[in-house]
């Protein structure tokens, strides 16, 4: 399945200027998301790993639109991460930023994207997935994390299992955890996030996750209900947002009316 393709990027890109300066270890390109490139590097000292999110100019975009979007998104992401952090939601710390140069330096969150953990867990299995208690528990942690985020007035805008890290419990090596599902769910990549407390926005956020989940982990769709159950318990307004989700689903399906 294509969705399990390796994240390693073979293509070579020129580094952003900031990363051309000396560092203890050379920066490594981790992903080339649509949002930009994510490098693993160090911040201040060799002992502090960090993630540098670089939004290179997109030459296919009109330069004015490009600058507008880049600046806006760097600042917006930083503001939102900072708000999440202050409101007690575990997200990557903001270390530094330069919106004109298009980069944001963030804490390096240990662990693997939840997508990887789920796929490892599923393997080739087609049966007993709906009874996998550990998997369902992970689903509930996802639901709670999303609920907490919504409760503090943040809409993610790009919820997928690639945009959540499973941060293994302290003392557990990264490699140990890949087959396991324990750890804290850390929502990352808030590059498309916005402030919002409307049930409609929350519902669309959930709908995006639901669809991404279904297309990424078709065989695990049967446990997605756990995400919504945990979400429902996580804050007062959650039930209303879930009601709205039903409407959004209907509307989504209506969209293919015309050919």
């Amino acid at each position: 399945m294509a969705a399990t393709a390796s994240e390693a990027v073979v293509h070579e890109f020129p580094l952003p200027a900031i990363l051309t300066n000396p560092a203890s270890t050379p920066p490594t390109l981790i992903t080339q998301g649509a949002e930009g490139r994510l490098y693993k590097t160090t911040y201040l000292l060799p002992s502090i790993p960090s993630a540098l999110k670089y939004r290179p100019p997109k030459p296919w975009r009109h330069p004015i639109l490009d600058q507008r979007l880049t600046r806006h998104r760097i600042l917006s992401e930083a503001r939102i991460l900072s708000k999440c952090r202050r409101d007690g939601l575990r997200v990557p710390d903001v270390y530094a930023l330069d919106e004109s140069a298009g980069w944001l330096m963030l804490e390096w969150v240990q662990g693997t994207p939840v997508r990887v953990n789920i796929n490892q867990r599923l393997g080739n299995r087609t049966e007993d997935i709906e009874d996998d208690e550990e998997l369902k528990d992970l689903m509930r942690r996802i639901g709670s994390a999303v609920g907490k985020m919504h409760s503090i007035g943040i809409i993610h805008g790009d919820l997928t299992t690639s945009n959540m890290m499973l941060n293994p419990p302290a003392g557990k090596a990264e490699t140990d955890n890949v087959s396991g599902l324990e750890g804290e769910v850390v929502i990352i990549d808030l590059g498309l996030a916005s402030g919002g407390v409307h049930d409609e926005d929350r519902a669309v956020d959930l709908y995006v996750l639901e669809r991404a989940f279904g297309s990424t982990h078709p065989r695990a769709e049967c446990v997605f209900g756990e995400v919504l159950d945990a979400y429902k318990k996580s804050f007062k307004q959650a039930g209303v947002a879930l009601k709205k989700l039903e409407e959004v689903r209907m509307r989504g399906r209506k969209r293919s009316m015309l050919g």
């Binding site: 992903t31 296919w60 975009r61 995006v208 991404a212 279904g214 297309s215 078709p218």
Partner: protein
């Protein structure tokens, strides 16, 4: 209907495009009816198939014939007749359906003639079962049913979007691309996984082509050959980028806000003129294209990043736009991949894509009975079980 008198064709071979295709497996789920059994017996020994495809989900009526062998695909004929409404108007279902009914027989005759085959050589009649506009879909389905009964051939109902995708894969040779499907009725980013074309992103409200068409109406831009084409030509002369809403949510996007803003600016332009408004029709077309295409490129790129693919295939009428193709190509190149774009023969709705996708399904044993041949306006791309792919 006069289809009964379709003449035996003049024996000449049309110029045909031959492209390679992944051999489809011959495994099939045989149905319990006896007629199906004999059908299947024939299918297993066969090495060449011909399908006739009928498309009419929107304002284009398309009929085409295709031949598959185990290793190749040959287009025998590919004809289209488009219903064009006057500037400032859209095509209404009733008028479009009338157009399709009126043109169906003549077009079917020409398609058969050009293909240089006889109806007896045809293995199945494929038709668009949805999604699309109800009345035009139904008109063409009636035509297809008539041919099937007349010639005693099985029917194969085809999902319009899957038709675009399969045709695109075949024509371009793209193996497992992320598909950007952009037309008057649809805007989807699709990738294949586990026997289905999964929709990763789509418009949350109106389709991108619908947005362009409706914008064209406000400015009385001609619908001939297509409003989007004329916007594209005007946009080439635009220079000033106007601020329009840019709405992307994950892999989804929204065009209704941008349409409202563009319409408001258009109204301002009509009222004040270019001097007074400070921008021209060309600038407005340019800004609209730059903004909405940037959104489409962004959601496509996000889907590519998500599934780890570096190939993109653009299908659907809006996919003809060269600016969009260039933008996607530039993005794909930066990701170390490439774009596969279709020329207008295939990007714009056509019968061949229906014949092609239908024949792929037919070869796996898929049939649509007369009772099941009802059209549906709502037919999700991911509703189709794709048995012919690994």
């Amino acid at each position: 209907m006069a289809a009964a008198s379709v003449a035996s064709p003049v024996p000449h071979l049309p110029t045909s495009t031959s492209t390679s295709i992944t051999p489809a497996s011959n495994t099939s789920t045989s149905t319990s009816t006896s007629s199906a059994t004999s059908d299947m017996a024939a299918a297993t020994s066969k090495s060449s198939w011909i399908a006739l495809g009928c498309e009419g989900s929107a304002n284009k009526l398309g009929i085409g014939l295709i031949r598959h062998t185990t290793t190749s695909t040959t287009i025998l004929s590919n004809l289209r007749h488009t219903f064009i409404s006057p500037p400032g108007t859209g095509f209404l279902p009733k008028d479009t359906a009338l157009h399709h009914r009126t043109e169906f027989v003549a077009l079917a005759r020409r398609a058969i003639a050009e293909a240089g085959i006889s109806p007896a050589d045809v293995d199945c009649i494929c038709f668009t079962q949805g999604p699309g506009m109800g009345a035009p879909l139904t008109s063409v389905a009636i035509g297809a049913r008539t041919l099937a009964l007349l010639w005693d051939k099985p029917l194969v109902g085809v999902n319009h979007c899957v038709g675009h995708i399969e045709m695109g894969r075949d024509v371009t040779g793209a193996d497992n691309p992320v598909v950007l499907y952009v037309s008057g009725g649809n805007s989807q980013v699709i990738a294949y996984a586990e026997q289905r074309y999964r929709i990763f992103g789509e418009t949350l409200d109106i389709a991108v082509g619908n947005c362009l068409d409706r914008f064209a109406r406000v400015l009385n831009i001609s619908n001939d050959p297509a409003p989007g084409y004329n916007i594209e030509q005007l946009a080439k002369k635009g220079t000033k980028l106007l601020d329009l809403p840019y709405v992307v949510k994950g892999m989804d996007c929204s065009f209704s806000g941008i349409l409202a803003s563009a319409e408001a600016l258009a109204a301002q332009l009509l009222q004040l003129g270019p001097e007074g408004a400070g921008f021209t029709t060309e600038d407005l077309c340019f800004s609209l294209q730059e903004t909405i295409f940037a959104m489409l490129v962004e959601i496509t790129e996000r889907a590519m990043a998500h599934v780890g693919s570096s190939e993109v295939l653009i299908v659907g009428g809006v996919g003809c736009n060269e600016r969009l193709q260039d933008m996607i190509a530039s993005m794909a190149k930066e990701r170390g991949g490439s774009v596969f774009a279709m020329d207008e023969r295939f990007c714009i709705d056509n019968g061949i894509m229906i014949a092609h996708a239908g024949l792929l399904a037919y070869r796996t044993g898929y049939r649509t009975s007369l009772e099941e041949s009802v059209c549906t306006q709502r037919f999700r791309t991911d509703d189709v079980y794709v048995e012919w792919r690994d």
